[in-house]
């Protein structure tokens, strides 16, 4: 695995952008995943999966606006 490889660097940057630690252990595991011939694990698959996972984590506590209770503004009598 070439450390200047675009997929590797992008994946690393993506993890950085997501706020993950990118220590040596993480890097070596990332290289392992990208070199693993058993999975067709390219950047096109990896990033959306990470992103989807992050979204799922966030959605465990979603902030929904209160339910709408339609009302109207009155203008008094004139």
């Amino acid at each position: 695995m070439n450390p200047t490889d675009t997929a590797y660097r992008r994946a690393l940057l993506y993890l950085n952008a997501a706020g993950h630690d990118t220590c040596n252990d993480t890097r070596s595991r990332l290289r392992g995943l990208l070199n693993d011939g058993r999975h067709d694990l390219r950047l096109a698959h990896l990033l959306p999966q990470v992103q989807a996972q992050l979204c799922d984590q966030q959605h465990q506590n979603p902030t929904r606006p209160p339910q709408l209770v339609r009302g109207k503004m009155g203008y008094g009598v004139d």
Binding site: A17, G19, H20, L33, L41, L54, Q57, G71, M73
Partner: protein
């Protein structure tokens, strides 16, 4: 002793009658003194007009003086026994179980971190006071620039997470119908029926939990109250200008507010923020129609607050000003320029009130007077200009006819008559009297220590008075321009205020170049025709000539202990909290907010979801925008297109994937390279907030 209706109404009537008699008596005396001088020299329409204008102006300044006297007397008596705060002293709040209160902050292109820092401070104080669980907090944005509203959105998300999540809501209107009042009305139409009370904040507002608790308590105990307004003190002043305003507000505002509250009682005015509103009657009676006249009197109402309180009063509800509720703050514009820009909007809004004043029926007399005083507060400037011009004209006319006028504006104080001395003395008393009364009040109340001691309080008052005298002619000229611009219906752009200062000399010069040139010409003219009058013209013309320098000096940062007020040495917790700004929302360094929205893996995690657009021309437009932006970068889209893209999570998700797969050297590839570089430089610091362990979920998913 019950606070029965006839009691406060009858007391209010007696107080207002006394005020009217005092103002009219003092005005009559002033007019008599003036006519003794004018009629001796001049007659005809200029002299008649001069007396007419003098009458209005003298009434105007007399109103301010006697209001201050009322406030002084009330404070010396230990406060107004009829005020709600004195009557209902309890601080306990017992809202029905499950009932919530809305805390709303309408914003429009404000400095995001500072504004939401203020809101964060209010929420933290509510949290510490055990009240936050009862509140739903709404940030109602009218911002249109995507870089602003994306920052607002991100900062609100961070803030919501810090507050425990769930009770802070961000809503942005895409169509800014009716400006701020329309923004509040939009909120009320959607969610207003859920709430009994609504606390309204401005972008620069700070309200302590104790103040909010007090407002809620008073509302609960006084069902007739539709609005209860606090008297905000100025805080967080950094520049010299803001510090002077803060000192004046803190030192003299106390007696003015006390006087105003004593005269208005239950017919007070809403000031637009730092107040609590009973939602149901507000929704039922306080909608504001667009004006249907012509020119200035057509379109949305710009100054909504006075009208809303008048409508609330018309509906039979009370509006109270409660200056004794502490813990209510707002900020001053940081520079003279910003103050004058804000005045332009207020001027236009107040002059618009002429239309509802003439067309709305059944408004209370007190509210009508308040609308008139609001209009006069800006009309006073052109009237003063007219007064000075007529005085100069009459003087020059007398001088050119061979009789140098020493009678009207006497160039030789040695020859002043008793009536002239009386007129000058009366005018000075009316102008400076409130300041002197305020000083006496602060001294008698033992509050001078908060202002740095008695001598410092005196010295600061003298300095503030001097600056006010210098600023008065500048304001007169600029406000006259505002009035003329409003009457000619010149276009006015509605933008957020600058709340952080910073003015360059070129900008200051540009702002005042025309008034300064006109002033130079006027001075030359006076000196040519009536050299005796030149010294009398200098107090008005010199400040205008030195306006750019004065503006620059006032815009610079002040020493922390300059113009000390009590909050300088011991800031209240809510101010301290606001000073340690927290909101942020920036996760990826060196990126614009749009670039962050596109590239952040987290962004769509907290983005409010809209149903996906599956077909139709909107989908076509979105697809085209995604293609265009993916290929040419963020600079290829207009702000409106960026807003449209960011409002549709699916389109943004598509762009997110394409941006992350862009080739090195392409527009998005360059952005990624920039991001990478910033991480490299930051890697040694602790940017990555939470160090996720090696069992992080993404590894599991990827495997």
């Amino acid at each position: 002793m019950a606070l029965t209706e006839p009691r406060w109404h009858s007391v209010a009537f007696r107080r207002r009658l006394l005020l009217a008699l005092l103002v009219l008596g003092q005005t009559a005396a002033g007019v008599w003194l003036l006519t003794q001088n004018v009629s001796a020299v001049n007659s005809g329409w200029p002299a008649g007009t001069l007396v007419g204008v003098f009458t209005i102006l003298f009434t105007w300044i007399g109103l301010g003086f006697w209001t201050a006297v009322f406030g002084f007397v009330m404070l010396r008596r230990g406060g107004d026994p009829l005020s709600l705060s004195r009557r209902f002293a309890t601080t306990s709040v017992s809202l029905p179980i499950g009932e919530r209160v809305a805390l709303v902050m309408p914003i429009c292109h404000e400095p995001v971190q500072r504004t939401l820092g203020n809101l964060n401070a209010v929420c933290q104080d509510l949290d510490h006071g055990g009240l936050l669980a009862n509140f739903d907090v709404y940030v109602l944005s009218d911002s249109q620039e995507p870089e602003t509203w994306l920052e607002e959105q991100a900062a609100c998300a961070d803030m919501n997470a810090r507050l425990g999540g769930g009770r802070l809501f961000y809503r942005r209107r895409r169509v800014n119908l009716k400006y701020k009042s329309g923004n509040i009305a939009d909120f009320l139409r959607r969610w207003g029926a859920r709430y009994r009370y609504m606390v309204v904040l401005d972008a620069d507002s700070l309200l302590s939990a104790e103040a909010i608790r007090r407002l809620l308590g008073l509302m609960e105990q006084r069902p007739q109250a539709g609005i209860i307004q606090t008297a905000p003190r100025l805080a967080r002043a950094d520049t010299r200008f803001a510090r002077l305003q803060q000192f004046a507000n803190r030192c003299y505002g106390r007696i003015h507010c006390a006087g105003l509250a004593a005269i208005q009682l239950g017919d007070a005015n809403y000031w637009g923020h730092n107040a609590i509103i009973r939602v149901a009657p507000f929704m039922e009676h306080c909608g504001l129609r667009q004006l249907r006249g012509w020119g200035l009197f057509r379109g949305p109402v710009l100054s909504h607050d006075y009208l809303e309180s008048a409508l609330m009063g018309r509906a039979g509800y009370e509006v109270w000003l409660e200056p004794s509720i502490s813990g209510s703050f707002e900020e001053s514009p940081p520079t003279l320029k910003d103050d004058l820009i804000r005045d332009r909007r207020w001027c236009r809004g107040n002059l618009q009130h002429l239309a509802p004043l003439l067309t709305l029926s059944k408004l209370k007399f007190c509210h009508r007077v308040a609308l008139i005083t609001g209009i006069l507060s800006y009309l006073a400037s052109p009237l003063w200009l007219v007064f000075l011009s007529l005085s100069a004209y009459l003087s020059i006319a007398s001088a050119s006819s061979g009789a140098p006028l020493t009678e009207l504006i006497n160039a030789s104080p040695a020859s002043w008559s008793l009536t002239e001395s009386g007129l000058v003395g009366l005018t000075i008393t009316l102008l400076l009297g409130p300041r002197i009364l305020a000083l006496i009040d602060q001294g008698l109340a033992g509050r001078s220590q908060g202002f740095g001691g008695w001598w410092r309080l005196m010295a600061n008052t003298a300095l503030e008075t001097l600056v006010s005298i210098l600023l008065a002619p500048i304001r007169m000229i600029v406000h006259s321009g505002h009035v003329a611009g409003a009457l000619l219906n010149r276009n006015l752009q509605w933008r957020g205020q600058n709340r952080t200062g910073a003015v360059g000399f070129a900008e200051a010069l540009k702002h005042f170049v025309w008034p300064a040139l006109a002033c130079t010409g006027l001075l030359a003219l006076i000196h040519w025709y009536a050299p005796d009058l030149t010294p009398w013209a200098l107090p008005v013309t010199l400040p205008l000539l030195m306006a750019p320098v004065l503006m620059l000096w006032l815009a610079s940062l002040a020493n922390p202990h300059w113009m000390t007020v009590p909050e300088t040495e011991s800031p209240t917790p809510v101010i301290s909290s606001a000073l340690s700004v927290q909101p942020q929302g920036k996760r990826l360094p060196t990126l614009s907010w749009f670039e962050q929205a596109v590239l952040s893996p987290h962004y769509r995690g907290w983005r409010h979801r809209r149903p996906p657009v599956k077909n139709g021309c909107k989908q076509t437009v979105l697809s085209r925008l995604v293609d265009q932006c993916a290929e040419q970068g963020s600079g290829a889209l207009t702000p409106d297109e960026i807003s449209l893209l960011c409002e549709h999570p699916d389109a943004l998700a598509s762009l997110h994937v394409r941006a992350w797969h862009s080739k090195p050297g392409s527009p998005w590839g360059s952005v990624l390279a920039r991001l990478d570089d910033s991480f490299v430089t930051q890697r040694s610091t602790a940017y990555t907030a939470a160090n996720h362990n090696e069992d992080t979920a993404w590894i599991g998913v990827a495997s």
